[in-house]
Assembly symmetry: D2
Homo-oligomer: 342 residues x 4
């Protein structure tokens, strides 16, 4: 059994991770931690996330920031479901080379996703000072970077929007099917859990209503561009639902691209992948909520060469916790979908 | 024109009041105020409530607590859409007998609704120190207390749940149709705007899901009991919608009460009332949202003598702003529904 | 492996059953059937319920009404997730004594729930003609009738509202804690899936809004009364959510009943029951959606003797499919929660 | 007073029209009609749309298809809120030149919106046989075609999506700010009322969840292209809300276009227009629901030349009924926003 803990288990992603680890044959959910100054410290998981009441009743222990090395020595696997700056601050201790740290780290924050450290000031609001770790971190896009993930000790789990976007776009880009002179246009709508578990006026029930936000400046745009290898325009929206992301992507295809080439590109990428599903109709958000799937459907307009692809995921699962679990499976030698699909 | 201002116009109720006054032929929306330490001070109404953008662009002026008398001298009518304690604290200045204060005050908080000042500590969390004003305040149940309202200078607008409940129960109680040995059971579900415009985890979109709260201890229970004149059990619920209240009320009727007696009691109470509607089917929340109506429908079980009545209102209108407007109409000599129904 | 089929797998309950059987170690999901004249006949489960796309891809076979005996001979266990009249019509063949029928039948319709056959005309709109089967059927209230369920061949799975209501009320009734001169008042709100998977104006998205319905005449009222053993007033409501039921129950307790007696009654009933959870706060619908739990929380008003209990379930799981699975577990010798809670 | 009737008043758009005409000083709501074989014939408006119960209690009269001329002779203004084929079929009688028909017709269906009659077979599923009327019909884009509308007798009210799209795009196109080698990409999400008031599985509450539909083939795409004068890619989505449309439009601007040029284009188009609002933040659906406004906000990415504009309307008002009322105001000599904004 892989001895596992979760730091940041009071949030929505942390709770989903707890459920996945708890339900997995090969991983042991050994401890849950929260920031020492969290109001949730000392409570049990079921107090905060009542769907787990009486089922996963581990306490949320306050983390000892001064002694994170001890954690990295005690556990085989640590999930960080923490704010970006907390991950950035704590990672040096967790990954110290001087100690006997052995834990594999899966960071679900954005602190180690993009490689250009200068972009952190612009998009994340803090200066990045962990050059070596940033260079070492592997981007955990689980359906693409499997060999690197298998050998990594620090894995930066992709953001929710990049996961939905890259799953749809990478097969096209890899096969040179995109006319990149026309940027792919990604319009995506996310459920409100994407904003995290917190009190905020703009995620108040009374205020939420479909709306674009962070237009032309969202931090997931450089992440998508980095791992796609070409420019895109990404416009996120907040939707009036709790979970899920639907990304609608419009692409100008290269000259003379056929429906068949597109289908083959997708098949080649995901032929035997149990997580990416080629649907036979346009996916709905609710088709994937509570599942680890990424559902794809597409249509090419032969007259104009424009292609529309939609991609649907559960933002907390494929967009966070279940993709992290895919990475953990890969890293520890199990099938990518173990514990996720039966 | 009745020169009118609203204190607390940044909240949902205040905004509805602004729209009603703005649209009324006989009232002039002369000024909007918010607490001086509100983050909204200085903004315009349309910035905060964009449905009024470019339409009601009055600024939200910071109120000068030290000089409330000046307000009461300058305006004919002041609506207080303020927290309970703010109303309690400010009322003495607003209603000072020593000055030339002339404004009629409509208080939409709970600070002057119940007559027993000792209940404020228990239900509202503060000690009430304004005995004289509490005694003078008229309870603005607009379909019942019309004569008192016409002559009052301080009118305490009823709570949203009491409005829905009393409209349904008072005709029965007045006609001795209730077997009061069995307490009427009021189950009501309110939209989230009832919690006010604020950041709070339990009104976050991701957290809201139908749930009972404040069971057997909600502050509207004593208010209902006071103005009904008999005990009730009142159980409020938070629903996953923005606006509206549906109250489902179960009453054991007195011996041998007939359907006809019930119908007559309701007709007698609301015969020509343009605001209370006798529906021919069970009302939905959305039938009344955005309207000043209280919709009623009922059914008597002849075998057992139990009667079920449901009562639907918009919590921000009939449960607050439009009932306040009914009171203002009555107080200044207009028809009760002027500016509300055309 | 218990060879299992589901008749009526195109509906919401049937799909949930398919998922539970598919995920259970001891049961084999061998076949899915739908009515021969269903537009869904010949499609796969994943076409209709895309959350199961690529995962449970069994075809929905048209059922041969003329030869139901063959089904009952081929399977160990048959779930009927069919309309009331279809269950009533088909049951004689499925349970024929003359053939070698061996299948245990779990009927999720209402056709065999209540014992007084005369009530079917009144509440279900058809005459009941299967006296012997009606007498033989065991009511599958899984947390209460375990011994009978273990030995039954025809099990009538309770309705969703009765499950939520009886779980809350039976411990009180069994311990004589209810002053039955005052009928318990049950107000419950159900998600729209309770109306089944079908086109209907009143379950159209544009029309749904919280509303009472079937007041004082819903078919679940006699079912609750029968299995509780005392009268109740039951008022159902349609809520603007997909899944879940919240029942708010108000009870006048017998003279001098204490909080402690109530707690003991509940503990005695459900002490080691992994499905009924005693919560420490008022349950929300979303706390139980997607789970097999029934969550309870209660409060007694010592001054008046009124008790409020709320009970939350997923209408498609504890209110249908997972309770049927509990019954199947009991009938075939497994733990009641096998395959439901890990 | 302009004597007005509405044909098709049982639908959502018809009901909104009824409310607008009823509330307008200059128009008289003289009669409501529905198809003779409608189940709603004979009911009153308030039975079907309870928000108007006791307020607009006109009966829904069955229309006499054989004698539509009589209608056109009796009324000054007829709104057709009817299916496309019904409008097409009835229009010849309503607009017959031989009779004394005097009514101005506002058709809210799509039957007279696009000028190329061959597209009706492809996009609407019927052959168009009214060439002369098609040629004569004026497209009622009320903020653009004011002179034509003032003189027209048959006005084809634009579709909901084209209204949102054209309001955002026409100022850019008119000023040659679009690099039309890159098609503008329109992604729009509509509330479920856009599908009409009817029973249908895909608009059932239990089934609705954010989803693209009619991708690359929706009938509003040719309408947008016709009145914009350049190609676009339009992808509609169904959202989980009742009312409203949010269109997110991505445009590659012509070389060297500046933020200032864009602002000037919009100001020039809508400077004193009380219906089109330039917001100072990204509009939400709920900011415009229940209002006649079209809210715009935009941002230019100087580095790449891509511009994102979002446009929000109420699909039943600015996308149908209130735009029809704007046209009626223009046609009968009133201010465009009379009866719509106070």
């Amino acid at each position: 059994m892989i001895k596992t803990c979760i730091i940041g288990a009071s949030g929505y992603t942390g709770a989903e991770l707890a459920a996945l680890v708890h339900g997995h044959d090969q991983f042991e959910l050994a401890a849950l931690f929260v920031s020492a100054n969290s109001a949730d410290a000392g409570k049990s998981l079921g107090d905060i996330h009542p769907q787990f009441f009486n089922r996963i009743e581990l306490p949320l222990q306050p983390i000892d920031e001064a002694n994170l090395c001890a954690l990295a020595e005690s556990f085989d696997l640590i999930f960080l479901a923490t704010p970006h700056e907390a991950s950035h601050k704590w990672m040096k201790q967790l990954c110290s080379e001087k100690s006997a740290n052995k834990a594999v780290i899966m960071d679900l924050s954005g602190a180690f996703r993009i490689k250009d450290k200068h972009k952190f000031a612009e998009y994340y609001g803090f200066e990045h000072h962990a050059d070596k770790l940033l260079a070492a971190a592997v981007y955990g896009l689980a359906d693409w970077h499997q060999e690197q993930i298998k050998n990594a000790d620090l894995i930066a789990i992709p953001g929710c929007y990049p996961t939905a976007s890259l799953t749809a776009l990478k097969p096209l880009q890899q096969n040179a099917l995109i006319d990149t002179a026309h940027f792919p246009i990604i319009n995506a709508v996310s459920g409100v859990t994407g904003a995290g578990r917190k009190a905020a006026l703009n995620s108040s029930f009374s205020e939420v209503s479909l709306q674009a936000y962070s237009v032309l400046g969202h931090r997931h745009q450089p992440e998508i561009i980095d791992y796609l290898g070409t420019d895109v325009i990404f416009t996120p929206h907040l939707g009036n639902f709790k979970r899920g992301i639907l990304a609608t992507i419009t692409v100008k295809t290269s000259a003379n691209v056929t429906e068949r080439q597109i289908t083959e590109a997708y098949q080649q990428a995901y032929q035997d992948n149990p997580i990416v599903r080629f649907r036979n109709s346009w996916p709905k958000i609710d088709d994937v909520v509570g599942t680890p799937y990424c559902d794809l459907f597409w249509k090419l307009d032969n007259k104009t060469g424009y292609l529309v692809v939609t991609s649907a995921i559960d933002n907390l699962l494929k967009g966070a916790a279940s993709q992290a679990m895919q990475c953990a499976n890969l890293r520890f030698g199990f099938e990518t979908h173990a514990g996720l699909v039966n």
